[in-house]
């Protein structure tokens, strides 16, 4: 699942019409937040993205930024954020993403209810879930065709 997410999420962020507004020093900063025990998982995800994309998401240069949940703060650099599992820090990631107006991907679909935007889930087939409530954040503007392949989820029902 991690590989599927690491492969598909970078393509989704390119469908944001306002991606140029989120570049930091001309690069997409792909921030992976992880629990201390998940450091090697986070590193492997980063390595997989590097191996698959060779430094560029389409025409954009990118940088992988590994950040522990406990170190995430308003000064953390992120054009997009991907949250691995955590018992208690997901709300912090959701607030961070909302404040910065960036896309927040989640390893676990249950975290969309806490305010993250996307997750990719293996059900009978692969399903891309999106949190309906965060769809209309002003700083994110997805092309319509993306919305046709996602399944919506909101806080009240799954």
């Amino acid at each position: 699942m991690l590989k599927a997410q690491a492969s598909i999420f970078p393509k989704i962020l390119l469908l944001d019409r306002k991606i140029d507004d989120k570049l930091i020093d001309g690069k997409i900063v792909y921030t992976i937040v992880y629990d201390k025990s998940d450091y090697s998982t986070a590193r492997h995800v980063g390595e997989f993205i590097d191996a698959s994309n060779k430094g560029h998401f389409d025409k954009y240069m990118y940088k992988i930024n590994l950040v522990e949940f406990s170190d995430l703060s308003s000064s953390t650099h992120a054009s997009v954020i991907y949250a691995l599992n955590s018992d208690r820090d997901i709300k912090k990631v959701a607030d961070f993403a909302r404040e910065k107006g960036i896309i927040a991907f989640s390893y676990d679909v249950k975290n969309l209810k806490a305010g993250l935007l996307f997750s990719l889930v293996l059900e009978k087939s692969t399903v891309l879930y999106m949190n309906k409530e965060n769809l209309y954040i002003q700083k994110i503007d997805f092309v319509d065709s993306l919305l046709r392949i996602v399944k919506f989820i909101d806080k009240d029902n799954s």
Binding site: L15, N85, D108, N157
Partner: protein, 693 residues
Amino acid sequence: MNYNILYNSKLIRIILPLLTCLTGLIAQTDNLIESISGEMEHFNKVATATKQNEHYQPYIISVFQGNELEKLGISNLKEALLLVPGVDMATDNSNIQTPIFRGSNPLAYGQSKLFIDGISVNNLFLEAYSEYLSFPIEMIKRIEVVRGPGSKIDGFNAYAGSINVITYAEDFKGFESDDKLVFKYGSYDYKMGGFFKTYKTDDLKIFVDFFYQEDDKKLPSGPDGLSQGALSLLPVFDNRALSQTGDAPLWLKEYSLGTNVEYKDFSLKARMLEHTQGSAYGINLALPQESDRVKLPSYYLDLGYAKKIGDYEVNINAGIKYDAFDSYSKLAPDGLNFGVIFQDGIYGEHFAAQQTLYQSSYLKYSAIDKHLITAGYRLIKEETIDMTSKLSNRATGDVELVDYTDTLPFFDKDAKRNTFIFSLQDEYQFRDNISFIYGFNYEQTSYKDSGFEPRVSMVYQRDAENIFKTMYSRSHRNASWQEMFTMNNRARVGSTDLNPEIVDAFEVAYIKKFSADTYLQTNIFYLLNKDQIYNSSVNPEYRNAVDTDIYGFELEYKGNISSVDELYLNYSYVDGKSYTQDEDRSESIPNVAHHLAKGYYLYNLNSDLSLSTVVKYVGAKDRVFGDTREKVKAYSTVDSSLYYKDSKYNYCATLSIKNIFNTNVTYPSPPNTYIQDYAQEGRTFLVTLKKEF
């Protein structure tokens, strides 16, 4: 006019680049969406093939990843299967071990099927796969265990369950495995070394695995079966005083070479497993000598062709398999009196080699909206190709072996069976959240036929967290070679008039997914077994004599207590009644643990180091009718492992202590054999070193 032309050309010069840019953007967006959809489709295929979407499949399945089991100190396939809900282990006097699924007929071997990379490897002689239970876990990428006959597909009959072992030959784009080198050392001077390697070009992939392992295990056993009258003909010949107590030779010497080759649409899968083990408790229930042995070689070669053309997908396979039962052993102690006195005991050499040829063709058709139809056939030709039967001289008592292959064979050397199986199945996606699978197998053999066997299942996904399944299926087990063709044996008499054992299985399951990695799987089952094959010391001829109704439930939880640990727990309950037709009696299902509970807890001390505990509880087992011994006692075992992974140099080390409290673990023996049952090993240790490239 000229102005207009000029105006128009200016307009075109402005609009055209914009249009081009816009068209480019749309094309780029379309490409991205197409790329995302294509990748999702690829991950669908991988997930389905690797059973990552197991909870949505129409059967009761548990999936274990080899690398996770390695962290728990699990050493081989047998130890892994003992973690599965509802699965226990049984053994016999030759230490032919067999997993028991949901209490289904512990006396028969072929109740479950084992597949290695999709190839059925149950041997023909016993219909067992004991020789593969020592398959090292480091050579296994994944184990998929289906309880019940629900996995019946492409003409294979899984009666009580099926085990799919996937080696690292499996390969998907983006999911390649590293090559591996492994060494292990443990109790009983256990030594193992092995590796696997993959070589790939654009069209060609070659995978090779090899391992060698041996130990010198022997366990205190006895008194042996002579104490109960085996090898006596009371009151004429009484050899009970010759009974021995001592060490049963349970040693192992084994190597295996496997290869998978893929070239475009063609594949070749081959394996040569040379398995030799100590003669254990003696094929005639007399404690054998330390060097006495049973060889159980298993070879297979499968050629395949798979092609997808539009809405059609064709899979054509043909193959050959070879297995043998090859025993050389001292069968009776010095001084045995059978009218003739065998001063130096009786020795025996029994060899039967079997060959299986098969060919199958299956076609999948997906042009009908929401339907995937699979139809095809499988042809199987099984036969004994060689047989030898040698014993010490029965007339003179001289110890030298005499060839009785023609005069007193232990087995029918002309044994053969032809089988034809036709199967048809439709997977119907009724709605996004409801799917059905229905179909049937039809089988004819050159002996008794199982005939038409239907199957219906439904999977309902209420939402992302709640999944319901319901299944009905009928399946069968054909009589094994031993049950059909054994001759000149006082304990076992084969019969070719045996009907297949039939099971009708009703199963309902509910899965609650708490998160991506946390779930609770529950199921209840009711199994109606008819015509189970049975023999006893009173009537040694195999016959369809037992009907057994079995019911029970299974709970399986996987999740975490904190973010740095893993917790896995399962509990299964089984009960039922066996009715023996020709003796007109019912009894609670014998030799079956009504309660089984297993689990592990793994704590990651940091990202490189973890500590784990595996706990197993096996409940008490009733004896068979007429066996006055106390129940087989319940037992619990605790194993612990420390696992270290060096990420920089890519090697791992594991230290495991198994059965820490040295609990007595025994598998039940039949009545009038080894009265103290078959003791299993106590506390052991294992060290594993693994390097990935």
